[in-house]
């Protein structure tokens, strides 16, 4: 087989930060037999993935148009778009979305603030290694375990955080998880505890990429550390923070384990974010048709987020290639 250095297309040239990069598409892998080979390597994974994601997706659409009967021997009833139209009048559905966004916004606001702060303080300090090791510990914990742990800490008779809040005089009567506002704060706090470290780690990785020359030039121009942060470091951090926000937001509705364990969506639906509601509809009331319709709307959001995220990987100005140097 001839190894050929000519390209099918003129190579794409990108100048980024003064580095000239030539994207090289080797002929080696792009002739007919090589492609045939590679396609065979690709096929098993794609087929399996189709079987466990595309096929269920078709089922999901089918289910959303039917009233699903779980009892054996009964066939599903065709209801058309009824499951969807019913969502419009479903108060819990709308409230689920609002709560989801409220919950995510609160989590993200606190996590980003704390994470960036911690990262800036730790960057290049002696404590960096120690803290990075500590950061890993909450992240490795199963969300269920985190949920139970915090439930234990918030407990109204023997919880240490309950005792702390009472002793500080912030919490008047009642329990933490029994009060609407406090329950929301409590589930947010759990998420913050578990995932602020990830934001800090991402920010630390980003801070290492801030060009030193820019910082120095700025300082020569007389900028102080604060000014330096806002006008040099932060703009360089944006892509990293955006990635962090997208990923955390995605996980906020991907995983509902902690909320399910701690409050189950209560009290009075105060923490019932949409996926929790979906869980109730599908696996408590077993109204799988309606559940499928809700799931469908959630998947639309996923696709939207996915579009954003893949843009992040592609945009050459941001140049965060998966696994690249970005």
């Amino acid at each position: 087989m001839a190894v050929n250095a000519t390209h099918r297309e003129p190579p794409e040239q990108t100048a980024y930060r003064g580095v000239r990069r030539v994207d090289y598409v080797p002929q080696l892998f792009n002739n007919q037999p090589a492609r045939f080979y590679l396609m065979w390597m690709l096929l098993p994974a794609v087929l399996l993935l189709a079987a466990i994601s595309l096929y269920p997706f078709v089922w999901l659409i089918y289910m959303s148009l039917h009233e699903v009967q779980l009892a054996p021997g009964k066939s599903d009833l065709w209801v058309g778009v009824d499951n969807f139209t019913r969502l419009f009048s479903d108060k819990n559905f709308a409230r689920g979305w609002v709560t989801l966004f409220k919950y995510s916004a609160l989590c993200l606001a606190v996590e980003i603030t704390l994470g960036v702060l911690v990262a800036i303080i730790l960057n290049n300090s002696r404590l960096e290694k120690l803290f990075i090791t500590i950061f890993l510990m909450p992240m490795m914990m199963a969300p269920v375990v985190a949920g139970f742990l915090y439930m234990f800490l918030y407990n109204g008779t023997f919880g240490w955080y309950f005792w702390l809040l009472r002793s500080l005089g912030v919490l008047d009567g009642g329990t933490i998880l029994g009060n609407k506002t406090w329950a929301m704060a409590a589930v947010v706090a759990t998420d913050v505890w578990q995932w602020t470290p990830l934001i800090a780690l991402i920010t630390l990785a980003g801070l290492k990429r801030v060009p030193q020359e820019q910082l120095e030039a700025n300082m020569v121009d007389g900028a102080g550390p604060l000014r330096n942060f806002f006008s040099v470091a932060l703009p360089n951090l944006y892509p990293f923070l955006l990635i962090a926000i997208l990923l955390r937001f995605m996980d906020n509705f991907r995983f509902i384990d902690t909320i399910l364990i701690m409050t189950g969506g209560g009290p009075a639906n105060a923490t019932k974010i949409l996926p929790t509601y979906l869980f109730d509809v599908s696996f408590k009331f077993f109204e799988l048709g309606r559940g499928a319709a809700i799931a469908f709307t959630l998947l639309l959001l996923t696709i939207l987020l996915g579009l954003f995220l893949t843009k992040m990987f592609e945009d050459p100005a941001r140049k965060i290639k998966p696994g690249g140097e970005g």
Binding site: F29, L42, I52, M140, F152, F279, T302, P322, G323
Partner: protein, 292 residues
């Protein structure tokens, strides 16, 4: 930051600021570590000791936390009466099974996606990543119905397949990034020297092996920590550690000591694995978008 190289003069404002910074760091440290410490300590307390709290506002009474006779009874009970050994085995089989299947098929697909250019590649990649991003509950609704009709609910193969729905796209996506970083030149050189395709592929294996191993570990971690799939699809025959932990909650009395012990059992192996692959952690958790 560059500011390190600039001479700083001590001023009251500056030393006040650095004290604030140190206080903040201490607070963050305590906030992160305290729950873990309480979990560990409580798992060794018997029921009465675990419920001891100082009076409200009695700050000196915090020492009560350490005033107990350590007992391993909860751990013994979990493994003898509550069959946690079995659940641990289930967790291990399900998560490891899914991880191996995902990374094996995923690395082949990732290599192909990294090397080949074809029409629709972008769409294929988008489908793959959006599969990974789909909310677990939303995926579970149709999967439950399908698995029910094919008798996969409550079996370990069913659980392995369920975990593969998020592990396989993860493996493909992240390993593609990994293979993208391996220069074509190695394979080209090998083929120039007369190697065939497989031999050329073998040449780059040593380069990617550590990453592949690390992502197997990460896939194990995702599966091990999963609760939703395990509680619905694994319910019955394939109970995993998180589900078994959740079942310790009984309406009459919640066995907090056992739950904390179960938490420790579930968490400690994963923390250990986490430290092992620490270098790949951020890459893995950000889908390869951020590298350290």
């Amino acid at each position: 930051m560059a500011s390190r190289e600039i001479v700083r003069y001590k001023s009251p404002a500056r030393s006040a600021f650095s004290i604030l910074v140190i206080l903040f760091l201490i607070a963050f440290f305590v906030w992160t570590v305290l729950p873990l410490a309480i979990m560990l300590i409580s798992s060794f307390k018997d029921l009465l000791d675990a419920f001891k709290l100082p009076e409200e506002g009695d700050w000196g009474g915090v020492g009560v936390m350490f005033d107990f006779e350590p007992t391993g009874a909860h751990y013994v009970e979990l493994f003898t009466e509550k069959h946690f050994g079995l659940y641990m085995r289930n967790s291990l089989i399900a998560s490891l099974g899914s991880a191996v299947v995902s990374v094996f098929l995923g690395s082949m697909a990732a290599y192909a996606l990294s090397r080949a250019e074809f029409r629709g590649k972008k769409d294929l990649l988008f489908w793959i990543i959006s599969t990974r991003m789909a909310p677990v509950v939303a995926v579970m609704v149709p999967l439950y119905v399908i698995f029910r009709s094919s008798g996969l609910v409550g079996t370990l193969p069913g659980l392995i397949l369920a975990y593969t729905t998020f592990n396989l796209p993860f493996a493909i996506w992240i390993l593609k990034g990994f293979f993208d970083n391996v220069p074509y030149a190695i394979e080209e050189a090998a083929q120039c020297d007369g190697a065939n395709r497989w031999q050329a592929l073998r040449m780059i294996m040593p380069l990617v092996a550590p990453g592949v191993a690390a992502f197997i570990v990460l896939c194990v971690l995702f599966g091990w920590n999963d609760f939703l799939f395990a509680s619905i699809i694994g319910s019955g025959g394939a109970k995993t550690l998180p589900v078994a932990t959740a079942e310790l909650v009984q309406p009459v009395k919640i066995q907090w000591g056992s739950i904390m012990a179960a938490g420790v059992i579930t968490t400690v192996p994963m923390m250990f694995l986490g430290f092992l692959i620490r270098r790949y952690m951020v890459t893995g958790l950000t889908m390869g978008a951020v590298r350290e």
